[in-house]
Amino acid sequence: MDIIIAEKVNKKFQLKQGQNINNNGVASNQIEVLSGFDLKIKKGEFLVLVGPSGSGKSVFLDLVGGLSNPTSGVVYLDDKPVVAPSSKTAYVFQQYALFPWRTALSNIEFGLESRGVLKEERIKIARELLSLFGLSDFEDRFPYQLSGGMQQRVAIARALATKPEVLLMDEPFAALDAQTREILQNELIRIWEGTQTTVIFVTHSIDEAVFLADRVAVVTARLGKIKEIIEIDLPRPRNAELRSSNEFAANRHKVWGALKAEVNKAQQVWKLAPVFT
C-alpha cells in the first residue's frame, strides 16, 4: 500500500524583485525546482532520496510535510492531498533545530503539547525516548550543553514523540563527524526496524543511502524529477559489518552509476549559471 503518492508535482519559486535567471535563453523571475515529479512511497518503507545539490529533494520534503504547497500537481498522504502540516508527519533537520531555551526533555515534549497531551504523559513519553537514545542522564540539559550527535538524537526523539506515520529527514547527519554519523545511522536503523514508521530521508552520502534504504530514489539535476529507483537488496536487520560486505559495494556501485551523470550535469549547470545576486 502506498502511503505517499506524488503526482506530476511542479514547484516554482518566485525570485526577489530584480533577480532574474536565464533559462535556455529566456529570462525569468521564477525558478522551477520540481517538474513532473512522480513518486510512490510504500507504507513502512525507508526511502532515501539522493541527487545533486539544488535538485529539489528538500523541497519535496517540505511538500510532504505541508510546509509549502506545489505550484501544480498533488502530493497525497493516506489518499488525502497535503495542504498544511499534518500530525501524521514529523521533521528532522540538518541543523537539529532544537529550541535552545528548552531542555532536552522539554524539546521532546514540544510536539505533544500542540496535541493536548497532558504533562505527565508527555514526560513519560519523552523519558522513554531519551532512554531509547541513551540520553536519560541528559534530560535537564539545554542544547548548548549537548554535543552535535546528542542534539540530533534529541531532535529525532522529538520527531518520534508524536508517533508520526511519516518521518521526514533532511540530511540529518550531514553536520556530524564521520564516526558520530555512523553511530547515529546504526541507532536510527535499530530504532526504525522496531517501528512501522515510513521514512523519507535525504542525503548526499551514497554509503548512508545504501546502508539505510529499502529503496533509493535518484533525483535528476535541476528540474528535479525521479530518474531511477534502486531497490537495495540487503538483508535486515542491518548492522555495521554489512558496510564492508561485497553486496554493500555492489549496491553502492548501482546507486553511484545512476547518480554520476546527474552530478556531472549539475556541475555543468553551475559552471554556466549566471551569477545572480
Binding site: 508527519t89 529550541f99 500542540s114 548548548y144 554535543s147
Partner: protein, 288 residues
C-alpha cells in the same frame, strides 16, 4: 561539535586567572565575577586621587571642585540625615513608572512591527522620524502639554525609554532563526503557540538588551526633567544645590547619581543573564 576559541596571532592570552574550581558551584561564579570587577578598581582609585589632589594642590579652586574626601563626607552626611534618600526614591519611582509604561507599550508594538511587515511599512516612517529627535529637545514641549507636575516627567521618560525597547524588540523578532519557525510549524503548532513558545523566547535576549539600554536612558532623562521643572528628585537636588552655591552638595548629588547608575546597570545585567540562562557563554559547552 567542538567550538574552540580562536586567538588571533600575536594576541597573548593572560594566564593570570585564579582557579576557583575548588569552591562549590554556587560561590565560584560569584568570586569570578568579583575578580573581573576588581581589576577596574586601580583606575577608579587613581581618578579619586586626582580628584583629591587637584583642589588640594591649588590647581583647581576648592570652591569649584571640593576634594573627593569632602564630597564623600558630604554625601555621607546627606545619607545619614535622610535628606538624600527622599530625592533618590522620587527619581527612581519616576523612572520606574516611565520605563514600565514604555515596556508595556513598546514591546507589544515591537512584536507587531517585527512580525507583520505590512504593519511595519505603515508605521516605520513615523517611528524613524520620532526616534531620531533628541528627547531633551522635546522637554519643553512635554512641559507645555503636560504641565509642571508628574505627568510631564513620566511622559518624557516614557518617550525616551521607548525607542530602544521598540527597536530591540523588532530586531529580536526579525532575527528569530527561521529554522525554529519551520520546526514548530512542522509539528502542527498553532499561531498563538508559535508566538508564545517560539517567537517570544527567541527574542528575549534582544529585548533584554533593549530593556537595559532603555532603563539607562530613563535614568538620564529623569535627571534632566527634574532639573527643569520639579521640587523633588535627584535632578532637582543637584540643580538646587548649584543655584544656592552649595558646591559640595552638588558634587555629592552627582556622586550619588554615579553610584545609582552603577547599581541599576549591574541589576539589569543580572536580569539579562537570568532571562537568557539557556544561551550559555562561549566555550561553556560541557561536552566538546
Amino acid at each position: 561539535m567542538s567550538e574552540e576559541l580562536v586567538v588571533p596571532a600575536g594576541v597573548v592570552q593572560k594566564a593570570r586567572t585564579i582557579d576557583f574550581s575548588r569552591y562549590n558551584n554556587r560561590i565560584a561564579p560569584l568570586l569570578e565575577g568579583l575578580n573581573t570587577w576588581s581589576r577596574g578598581i586601580p583606575l577608579v582609585l587613581a581618578f579619586f586621587a586626582l580628584w583629591e589632589a587637584l583642589p588640594r594642590l591649588g590647581i583647581i579652586d576648592m570652591l569649584f571642585l571640593p576634594p573627593f574626601s569632602t564630597t564623600v563626607q558630604t554625601l555621607f552626611d546627606l545619607i545619614v540625615s535622610g535628606k538624600l534618600l527622599l530625592h533618590v526614591i522620587v527619581s527612581l519611582q519616576r523612572s520606574a513608572i516611565g520605563f514600565g509604561l514604555a515596556f508595556l507599550i513598546a514591546v507589544p508594538f515591537g512584536f507587531l512591527m517585527g512580525w507583520y511587515s505590512k504593519f511595519e511599512r505603515y508605521t516605520d516612517l513615523l517611528v524613524q522620524s520620532l526616534r531620531n529627535v533628541s528627547t531633551f529637545a522635546l522637554l519643553p514641549i512635554f512641559l507645555l502639554l503636560f504641565g509642571l507636575g508628574e505627568p510631564s516627567k513620566i511622559a518624557i521618560i516614557f518617550y525616551g525609554a521607548s525607542w530602544q525597547l521598540l527597536m530591540n524588540t523588532i530586531s529580536g523578532v526579525k532575527s528569530v532563526d527561521p529554522i525554529y519557525i519551520k520546526a514548530a510549524k512542522s509539528m502542527g503548532t498553532s499561531d498563538w503557540d508559535l508566538f508564545r513558545k517560539v517567537i517570544l523566547p527567541a527574542s528575549i535576549p534582544s529585548i533584554a538588551i533593549g530593556a537595559r539600554l532603555g532603563a539607562k536612558i530613563s535614568l538620564m532623562v529623569v535627571i534632566a526633567a527634574e532639573m527643569i521643572g520639579a521640587k523633588s528628585g535627584l535632578g532637582f537636588f543637584i540643580q538646587n544645590a548649584q543655584f544656592n552655591f552649595m558646591v559640595p552638595e552638588m558634587y555629592a548629588g552627582i556622586l550619588a547619581l554615579a553610584i545609582l547608575g552603577l547599581m541599576v546597570n549591574y541589576l539589569l545585567v543580572w536580569v539579562e543573564k537570568k532571562t537568557t540562562y539557556w544561551k550559555g557563554e562561549i566555550g561553556s559547552s560541557l561536552l566538546g
